[in-house]
């Protein structure tokens, strides 16, 4: 299969007067952790919403493994192997932590039922340190744990590409490091690719194989973290000079 998982071609998204995405084009490659950075309001979350079918683009296409998915429903896109976390965590409050994961495992694989890959519920709970709160309800737990639940649920859907939206905002350096390790384990031992939106340049530099910078709804730079962070245009976009 080609190295390309996702390709966005000239994607435009308008809300009333505001143009959130202004002809954005980018590619997400297989086997890589891709970082996405850009100042607030640049359109990063809108991009995730368009890829996962929450929003349909005003124009332009989103292509997954060669087929256009911009018309599909969110759950259909999940069945094709893309899942996500949310900027503010969205646990399913009436289900326990374990039921959140079991629901994702059951429904994530689509009509085919549970895929027989080796991601077991207890395994994921342990890796993310949630094993002793399996029976408690998410809203009894802190924001950090709710972010872990979002991530664990996305992994349990059996998808091979997880979009992570600012999961480390407001975390202590130690908590950030444990997330970085988690991405590493799931990437290396389970072959799951990640696309990570983050503000913290240090963290992004350490986990991303490739970096894409988005500003004013367009992709203004891409490449290895070192190249991109030295790019003058990127520095300007950030400092708002």
């Amino acid at each position: 299969m080609s190295r390309e998982r996702i390709r966005c071609e000239e994607v435009v998204k308008k809300f009333g007067g505001v143009t959130a995405l202004d002809g954005l084009s980018l590619t997400i490659k297989r086997g890589e952790i891709t970082g996405i950075i850009g100042p607030n309001g640049a359109g990063k979350t809108t991009l995730f919403n368009v890829i996962t079918g929450v929003l349909s683009p005003t124009s332009g296409d989103v292509i997954l493994d060669g087929t256009v998915i911009s018309g599909l429903e969110t759950h259909e896109i999940c069945h094709r192997g893309i899942s996500r976390t949310f900027q503010s965590p969205k646990p399913l409050a009436s289900l326990t932590v374990e039921e959140n994961l079991r629901a994702a495992q059951h429904f994530g694989a689509g009509v085919g039922g549970e895929s027989d890959d080796d991601l077991s519920v207890s395994g994921v709970l342990e890796t993310l340190g949630l094993e002793d709160s399996a029976d408690s309800y998410p809203d009894q737990m802190g924001i950090v744990n709710q972010k872990y639940i979002d991530l664990a649920r996305a992994l349990m859907t059996g998808s091979t590409l997880v979009l992570v939206d600012e999961i480390m905002a407001g975390l202590t350096p130690a908590e950030k490091q444990s997330f970085v390790d988690t991405f590493g384990t799931f990437h290396d031992s389970f072959g799951i690719d990640f696309v990570v939106i983050e503000h913290d340049l240090e963290t992004i530099r350490s986990i991303s194989d490739r970096l894409i910078v988005i500003h004013n709804g367009q992709s203004i730079a891409r490449g290895s973290p070192e190249e991109v962070l030295r790019d003058q245009e990127v520095r300007e976009a950030y400092a708002g000079i």
Partner: protein
């Protein structure tokens, strides 16, 4: 509290249903200053602003305004005392006209004082004067931001809290926004500004606080706060 101190916050913690987003914040704002609060997304900037205006009751700490403790004061009481907030996303009343939005926000003022303040806002924003009779829902992003600012200014505040006024504005308008903040300050209004635009904020500020993971990382006069690079790395969560 030194005479010139308009607002003093001591050991403030606040958040949403028992989860504190900001913890043990202590800061002081001198009368007539522009104070910038910088920090990455999720550092607690908006939570701090909501606690200052009274939308959020803090779990600990005190807030004093002009020497009077307002920690438990309601929003209307704080507005009457002279504080007002321009929220992050604008909350203008879309189905009401620009004029009605301003009239309603100036409710605490006497009749003729109200007309004077509304005229003052129309001078500051001629575009709003032109579209006075139109529904606020028809305004562009920039115009709606001006109206939101106008709604705060009609109450004749001594302290104006501005939560990311440049968010979602086209680059040209951002320039204009910072000029307006400067002019408002020259009219004698003290401003606390929360912004993403690091360089432009520092340029117009007298004092800067850098907030990260709910705590104040760094603070000092704008001139000595150090090169923009330093702030950027602190702001962007550098090691």
């Amino acid at each position: 509290m030194p005479e010139s101190e308009l607002l003093s916050v001591d050991g403030l913690s606040a958040g949403y249903d028992e989860l504190d987003v900001i913890t043990d914040i202590t800061l002081s704002v001198q009368r007539g200053d522009i104070v910038s609060i910088l920090g990455p997304n999720g550092a607690g900037k908006t939570t701090l602003m909501r606690a200052l205006i009274g939308l959020l009751t803090p779990s600990a700490g005190t807030i004093c305004f002009e020497g009077v403790e307002v920690t438990d004061a309601t929003v209307p009481e704080r507005i009457r005392a002279g504080i007002s907030l321009v929220p992050e996303e604008n909350h203008v009343f879309k189905d009401m006209t620009v004029k009605e939005n301003l009239v309603l926000s100036a409710a605490t003022k006497t009749k003729d004082r109200k007309r004077e303040r509304i005229e003052h806002v129309y001078d500051l924003f001629p575009r709003l004067d032109e579209r006075r009779g139109q529904r606020a829902g028809t305004l562009s992003g920039g115009e709606a931001q001006m109206l939101s600012l106008g709604q705060a200014l009609v109450t004749e505040p001594d302290l104006l809290l501005l939560d990311e006024p440049s968010l979602g504005l086209a680059p040209a308008l951002v320039e204009q926004m910072f000029d307006i903040v400067g002019r408002i300050n020259e009219d004698g209004v003290t401003v606390v500004l929360v912004e993403q635009q690091v360089k432009s904020s520092v340029d117009i500020s007298d004092w800067v606080y850098v907030l990260s993971t709910g705590q104040i990382e760094d603070s000092g006069p704008a001139s000595e706060i150090g090169a923009v690079e330093e702030i950027m790395s602190a702001y962007l969560g550098g090691a």
